[in-house]
Subunit: 165 residues, 2 copies
């Protein structure tokens, strides 16, 4: 399996595909992807780096949208409810969800060098969480799984200093 966020890829395609996906998904669900909601989703998808609420707000302001905090927090809440994005609790920032059709909680790899986030949906992790919870008679509702470290690309770069090139 290849980690998309950490690898070169056609990111314009990421964005447009996420948006058109979101549009049809909202239509099917009978919920409204209003202009501000769609714009927040586009902004979140501008990169695979999680983005903060107030950074989104600044962008909205430049573009002539209303820009009081509730505007962006409401949009984020809607998008989160629709599984179109995830909040990364350890950095108070938001990333687009790759897989909004099936309700799930992601597992995230966060690179501390390039700051990109890769969402996983690891069956290993899901199973391990379930086993551990079961051992304690604990019933899982949801979880926060955020793994911070260094991605392959940044590891490679650190191992090839310029002096060697």
């Amino acid at each position: 399996m290849q980690a998309t966020a950490f690898s070169p890829h056609d990111h314009t395609h990421c964005i447009s595909s996420a948006i058109s996906h979101a549009q049809s998904l909202c239509a099917n669900r009978g919920v409204r992807l209003t202009p501000v909601r769609q714009r927040v989703l586009e902004l979140v998808w501008q990169s695979h780096q999680p983005i903060g609420a107030y950074e989104l707000l600044a962008s909205l302001a430049k573009e002539g949208f209303n820009s009081a905090p509730p505007t962006v927090y409401r949009a984020l809440e809607f998008l989160s409810d629709q599984d179109l994005l995830h909040k990364l609790e350890s950095v108070n920032a938001y990333v687009g969800c790759c897989n909004p059709d099936t309700p799930h909680q992601g597992h995230f790899l966060l690179c501390q060098i390039c700051h990109q986030a890769q969402e996983l949906d690891s069956q290993y992790i899901t199973l391990a969480l379930k086993l551990s919870a079961d051992q304690h008679g604990f019933e899982i509702q949801h979880h926060t799984i955020e793994i911070v470290g260094t991605c392959q690309g940044c590891l490679d770069k650190s191992k090839t200093p310029e002096s060697v090139l």
Copy 2:
């Protein structure tokens, strides 16, 4: 394995043992468990419910300690550096660490009914995280693993309504 936080236990013993443990550990490490640091640790250990920084601050204020935010955040930082407590990122609150001798990151079960937190150190979870990271060539530095749900005790209570008693 029994989840201490979720089970009846001698909690006074929890506190005193955590404090005396912290004292010897700090002595061994040549770092200072000053009065405000020790008091913050005691307050964190008052229960197995994670406690917020400003709630700690309010307690310190009542007790005559200095009570500007940096006071408590500095103490929390020290205690965290010494592995004496953990921050739960999903709730912005702090819990005492059961096992400060061996540097580790805990895995947490958070009960949404009784709000208690149980720290685990599950080899299943550790292994699953490592496997997933390895698959992506990702090198782990640290992680946030917080599982929210209902603990066994609260499940039992919800299954025994008063009408049945």
